[in-house]
Amino acid sequence: MKYLNTVKEALREVYSSKRYLVLTLLTALILFLFNTLVNNYRILISDFSVSLFFLLLSGTISTMTTSALLILMIMSVLAGVVLAMTIFLVKRQVKGNLGISSSGIIVSLIAPACPSCAIGLLSVLGFGGFLAFLPFKGLELGFIGIGLLGLSVIYLSNKIIKKTCSIALKRG
């Protein structure tokens, strides 16, 4: 409950400025598109057209399981939130946030790779075979990603609602 209130307060503060909402939505969209289209990047580069772009997007989404689609959407939005919070803190010149934010965002880039339906960066990098032997065929990465991003949101929220800089006490 305490964490939820902290996150709510932090989100209220960050999104009091509409530009962070735009940043969040844009980031979520980019990550979603990246994960759905990355396996067909070659043909998109060689034969790009707007119609092919949308056909591949809708075609790939139709091959995703409901769980994979849901995980991808949640991760994309969470990564957008983490990025917005990080930039908010950087602007407030609060140090030490990039590590935890970037780890969550990196996980969202590799996302719920599905070895047989071939979505996600890990599939393109040739790790589809390894994922195939995991109990949930790579969906675990999605859950881990959501967990990491969730922890990032809580950590960053604590920093956002803190209004003072701590003084490190010295001995002697």
């Binding site: 396996n39 060689s46 056909l55 075609g59 070895p115 047989s116 032997f133």
Partner: protein
């Protein structure tokens, strides 16, 4: 293109202007979806009209237990010139998931294959080697999952709708 086609079974004119090589897994539900929803349209509009040569190559995924046995069974039917009939039997039965050697034998009987010859072929090590070659060629060409398609050298991943294939094929024909 010659390397990608290898000596694998194909439908359509041998010298068609567009070649589609499908790397597929008989236990993959998306490969079955492609077979049921998209291949019939590609066949009627492009393969039967001489515009596309459609080559089938095996890409059995490691976690699909029946993918390789089904592929070998189909290849052995192909030795007796009944490859695509057997291929259709597998996908019309919902794919290789949950199937067994009894099912493969039943289909071979239904197609009127010489059973002794077919069964001898199943244990021929050359069949496994052929499948390993398909896997290696597919991976080298950029196939990362099934179904994967190479259309005149261009890679398309996943059970995309007919409209995607139509756009790419038409671009190649023009």
């Amino acid at each position: 293109m010659k390397v990608l086609s290898d000596d694998d079974p194909f439908m359509g004119k041998k010298d068609a202007p567009v070649t589609i090589v499908e790397f597929s897994d008989y236990e993959c539900p998306f490969c079955e979806r492609f077979y049921q929803q998209t291949l019939p349209q590609i066949k009627s509009q492009y393969i039967d009209t001489g515009k596309v040569k459609f080559v089938y190559r095996d890409f059995p995924l490691g976690f699909h237990q029946q993918a390789e046995p089904a592929a070998i069974a189909a290849n052995c039917a192909g030795v007796q010139d009944k490859y695509f009939e057997y291929h259709d039997k597998i996908f019309n039965s919902g794919g290789a998931a949950g199937k067994s050697s009894a099912d493969y034998k039943k289909w071979a009987q239904e197609l009127g294959l010489n059973l002794a010859k077919w069964e001898a072929c199943l244990s021929d090590p050359a069949q496994k080697q052929e499948i390993q070659k398909d896997l290696a060629d597919g991976s080298a060409a950029g196939v990362q999952g099934t179904p994967g398609f190479i259309i005149n050298g261009k890679v398309i991943s996943g059970a995309q709708p007919f409209s995607v294939f139509q756009q790419v094929i038409d671009a190649e024909l023009n």
